[in-house]
């Protein structure tokens, strides 16, 4: 499994919180496999990138992270 440096871990946690708040991302508590969560999160990143018209990569790149850090409304962009 990839070893994530400290800064990236912070960014990942920030992104996860963002996706939970605004893109209905739910971390599967029971998941044994980290990779399953990462796939689901990647899917949600893709959804967010598509919403904002960013390049859809599913990766938490700087452009995506920067958009996540913009001041915004608290209402979700997508609903379950």
């Amino acid at each position: 499994l990839p070893v994530i440096p400290e800064k990236e871990k912070e960014d990942m946690q920030f992104a996860q919180k963002y996706l939970e708040n605004f893109y209905d991302f739910k971390e599967e508590k029971s998941s044994l496999f980290k990779s399953k969560d990462l796939n689901l999160m990647s899917e949600k990143i893709r959804e967010m990138q598509s919403f904002f018209g960013l390049e859809v990569t599913g990766q938490l790149n700087s452009q995506t992270l920067n958009m996540m850090k913009q001041p915004r409304c608290g209402i979700p962009d997508v609903r379950s």
Partner: protein, 401 residues
């Protein structure tokens, strides 16, 4: 654009709102103006009217709070989430909350968030809109610090809200001209509202069909100038004659001033203050463009009328002498706008001072150095200096019939 699941919306045209508290970042009147202008954006493209309540439960309760504030969506300190609002419904439905940890401002600067812009976005949610992925739309989820002067909704926002409520009954296609760039005088300080007297909102008046522009029997309730334009009022209808566009525009009072209902008795403009006064029964309102000034309505007695005067027929302000003439029956008062007091020796007979004006005055206007007194379907042009009758015309001569 998007709406919430099952597209909840208000099933009525009169939606009430109440401002529960204020951010210390701004003057209270600036908060009220920002919110009123935010509502005005939406009322100008829908049939909705927004009426402010000062107590009790309103449909849309507006408040500032930080961190945890009693719902499931706590705020997160400076930056990040700025505000949120709930879709139409009972209880918390429609309510809008603003994060007090942000720095709120009425300007468009980098040192704070413009309350008008954020409020307009959140009120979109209060009316049933979700987020839009159209960059530049008001309902785009990310804050965009745009210039708010003459701010206009994006077509996507209009399409979205009209998918819920439809277009306004009569849609004003052009905004009022901005105020002339003269030095802005301070707003009239709001007088203390007597404690027992709840500030009331106008009650909407039934809406008969709009008469034809060139109806030979057309009469008006009130007429005034406004920033170089002329507004003719009848019931809730407005005819707008402007040097900025050729045709007569057809609007409603509620599309300019959502919380004012039709049936004005009189109106006049004090152009030096960029102020228009509206009279209905024994109350009057002062507006600057779209904004109703704080502390109104006020009783007409506060202008100096005796108790037995329950309403006025017409009013006109003489821009050269700074006197305002109020017409009641066959008499008139003269009000000094500089001293804000009635002049001695009034009321006087209208016919004694205005040659040829023997009737009650329905509406009055000053333009091009002349007064125009409207009675029934006629208007009497009088020289403002000599007060001599110049000619008599049809009341709708201004509409190029």
């Amino acid at each position: 654009y998007s709406t919430f699941p099952l597209s909840p919306k208000w099933n009525k045209e009169d939606v009430t709102y109440r401002i529960l508290n204020y951010t210390p970042d701004m003057l209270q009147e600036d908060v009220e103006e920002a919110i009123a202008k935010a509502f005005q954006l939406w009322s100008s493209v829908t049939p909705l009217r927004f009426i402010r309540l000062y107590s009790g439960e309103a449909d849309i309760m507006i408040s500032f709070a930080s961190g945890f504030h009693g719902d499931f969506y706590s705020f997160d300190g400076p930056g990040g989430t700025l505000a949120h609002a709930y879709h139409p419904g009972k209880g918390i439905g429609g309510d809008a909350h603003f994060d007090e940890d942000e720095n709120w401002t009425k300007f468009t600067t980098y040192s704070g968030f413009n309350l008008f812009l954020v409020a307009a976005h959140e009120l979109g949610h209060s009316l049933g809109l979700g987020h839009s992925n159209v960059f530049g739309a008001l309902m785009y989820p990310v804050y965009m610090g745009k210039d708010t002067r003459d701010y206009r909704l994006h077509q996507d926002d209009i399409d979205g809200i009209q998918s819920l409520y439809g277009p306004p009954k009569e849609s004003p296609t052009k905004a009022f001209p901005p105020q002339e760039p003269t030095e802005r005088t301070t707003t009239v300080a709001p007088s203390e509202m007597p404690p027992h007297e709840e500030p009331t909102e106008m009650t909407p008046t039934k809406l008969p069909a709009r008469p034809e522009d060139c109806d030979p029997h057309l009469t008006f309730d009130a007429i005034t100038t406004l920033r170089g334009e002329i507004l003719f009022f009848k019931d809730n209808y407005v005819w707008r004659k402007s040097p900025y566009f050729t045709d007569i525009e057809h609007d409603t009072i509620s599309s300019f001033w959502p919380s004012l209902a039709g049936g004005f008795d009189a109106a006049y403009e004090v152009d030096k203050k960029d102020q228009v006064m509206f009279f209905k029964d024994d109350q009057y309102w002062a507006v600057n463009g779209y904004n109703i000034q704080l502390g109104f309505p006020k009783p007409i007695q506060s202008l100096g009328f005796p108790r037995n005067v329950r309403k006025i027929d017409a009013a006109v302000h003489d821009q050269s002498t700074k006197k305002t003439y109020f017409f009641v029956g066959h008499r008139y008062w003269s009000f000094n706008e500089n001293t804000q007091s009635m002049e001695r020796g009034y009321p006087r007979k209208i016919a004694a001072d205005f040659h040829g004006i023997y009737h009650v005055v329905d509406a009055a206007l000053q333009k091009n150095g002349h007064f125009y007194f409207f009675h029934g379907s006629k208007q009497y042009e009088v020289d403002a200096k000599t007060k001599k009758l110049v000619r008599i015309m049809k009341s709708n001569s201004w509409f190029d019939c």
